[in-house]
Symmetry: C2
Subunit: 372 residues, 2 copies
């Protein structure tokens, strides 16, 4: 097996899991947040800076990399690790989510999905086999089965048909995956917001015996209660000795609530995307540092933060940089947001060790209110 999940302990207060995933490129602590490097770069950050904010694993996107530069170039460069000069673990998604959210004029058939590139309109095709070939080229430590990510809302009938196809696709992915020694293939539980379908999907995928399981199709617009309900009916079905990955989730409240429900891994563009828009997460909630009211504010973005941005630069300076489109501005907001979220995960892990993750949640979310 390419990876191994080590369960270190469970929080007595919540049941949240503290663990470690061992991969061919080293280990990462769980619950883990994975910064997103869509196009083989976490926007604005260098690999060294990612290490400074303590990113232990990053994610990159099959859909974008198949279009540019093409997976063959990444393969010839030594895979994503060589291409990016990143020696820690990497996870790639399957392209499924982007095909359904970015690709134009899709045609979904049993064989696979034909779509138009968002870059130049050219026609492309992804099937389970293509997704595996590309991800084998990219060489990530963890790769994802090709799935259909249904929109929200979606009727029960279509959600059921879709998850059953996702199961068939998962089986084909397993067959097509060529590098099982060095790359662990995760199955993705689908089923929309329907408990019976989530259970069906999980049970079908469990029979295929994947080294890890993701929960997909959430955080796509459904109420938080629905997401939590889906986790509560799915996670208990998943094997204790495999990592569980909640895809596309990255707001502080979701990260904590996900961990409490037994999730080990998360990813989201939230910290990098809102950073580029001039918004930062702080110990006092969200702060739109781009706002005019910070023009003369010579305090750090987050007075309680010890990151490079907060220990060296003022809100006034960062606001100026953002207003005049200086790259350093988005570098600093991105740096801080990643630092903030990765530090949050450290605090979550610490709270699990000390059996007080419930208290931590109440205290953290109490301070923050619903500002996320």
């Amino acid at each position: 097996m390419a990876i191994r999940y080590e369960l270190i302990k469970k929080c007595k207060q919540t049941g949240a899991r503290l663990g470690r995933v061992h991969t061919p490129h080293g280990s990462f602590d769980t619950p883990a947040f994975m910064p997103v490097g869509t196009q083989a770069s976490v926007k604005g950050m260098s690999p060294d800076e990612l290490k400074k904010v303590d990113a232990q694993i990053i994610l990159s996107n099959t859909y974008h990399l198949m279009l540019r530069p093409g997976s063959d170039i990444v393969r010839e460069s030594g895979g994503l690790h060589g291409f990016m000069n990143w020696d820690r673990p990497v996870l790639t998604d399957s392209g499924g989510f982007q095909v359904f959210s970015l690709g134009g004029l899709r045609s979904i058939k049993e064989e696979g999905v034909t779509f138009k590139s968002h870059v130049d309109g050219s026609k492309h095709f992804i099937s389970p086999e293509v997704a595996m070939q590309i991800q084998n080229d990219l060489g990530a430590d963890i790769i994802m089965a090709f799935d259909e990510c249904i929109p929200y809302p979606c009727g029960h009938d279509y959600a059921k048909k879709s998850l059953e196809r996702t199961t068939r696709w998962a089986e084909r992915c397993k067959q097509a995956h060529k590098n099982t020694e060095k790359q662990a293939l995760f199955g993705i539980v689908q089923g929309g917001v329907y408990k019976d379908l989530r259970v069906q999907s999980a049970n079908e995928l469990l029979e295929l015996d994947f080294p890890g399981y993701a929960i997909g199709g959430l955080s796509v617009g459904e109420p938080a209660e629905d997401m939590y309900a889906m986790l509560e009916c799915t996670v208990p079905l998943l094997p204790e000795d495999r990592p569980r990955y909640l895809m596309g989730v990255g707001s502080p409240d979701y990260l904590i609530e996900g961990a409490i429900r037994g999730i080990d891994m998360f990813d989201c563009v939230l910290p990098t995307r809102i950073g580029r828009n001039g918004t930062v997460m702080t110990s006092r909630g969200r702060l739109i540092v781009r706002d005019a009211k910070y023009a003369r504010d010579f305090s750090p973005m987050d007075p309680e933060c010890g990151c490079y941005a907060c220990t060296n630069f003022t809100r006034a300076y960062i606001r100026h940089l953002l207003k005049v489109n200086e790259v350093l501005g988005i570098r600093l907001t991105t740096w801080h947001n990643l630092s903030f979220l990765l530090n949050l995960m450290k605090n979550v892990r610490k709270a699990i060790i000390e059996d007080r993750l419930g208290d931590f949640r109440n205290s953290f979310l109490g301070t923050m209110g619903k500002k996320w």
Copy 2:
């Protein structure tokens, strides 16, 4: 006096000067190249990275900072040093060059220049007194007199009238400068490509006794021979114990030829600007790393360079980043170009110490051809 120029030695082969300028924020070695931080940021670089590439002094622009964020905010932030978190020397220009190159619908009168902002079309006025007030707010170690930068080509009559006004403005700047203990005001020799006017301008400014002298209005389109001729008739008139600054010059050949003609300081957006366009300076000449032919080139941008970009990333990766507009791409090309030019200046200084700057020029320009 705010600054002191220390002449360490002259190159026996060329007469080029090795020196050091002592300022309230430390010293810098000359001949020096100053990276340009137009809007209080050297595009793409953090202050720490500027130190890593050995930038000993940087330049920032009065015109841009008076528009955004406004010099009062910079002053309240502790001047540019505090605002940017840069503790080494800073030089600000007077706004003159930008008013004439960027500002729309100018009206030039004896009192000063009225222009429209390139940002929002709003109307602004800069006079010698305004330029001094703003630069006193910005707090740079070296500040520049407000001058008229004439276009190329320009007739002798206008060039003469203009330089004489520039002299009168220089005198007003000297009168208006409020912080002579901590900020050294340089006069700017003008006169177009006319030797008699350069001599006239230099002599007029010498009477005003500035702590340093700049040569402006060159590298604006005139042939290289004209620039060299202007340096050759001007520099010998300037005092040995004051630094000499050739404004807006930054290509490797001009830097070397300028040093040979007795120049101590240079600045230019060239390395940062061409870097953002995907072009890098290398030991083998210019390289357009954005070109398709580097898509599968897994060698460094410059195999002889030891900078962060060249020791960690391939042409193929950097080309990909540039093609897909990832910020890390322009960060790496900028980093390399600044590293290359600042390293060139180190080599120039070393060649002066060893009395072989002429040999160094022949060897360097011979290798590079006319590719700059």
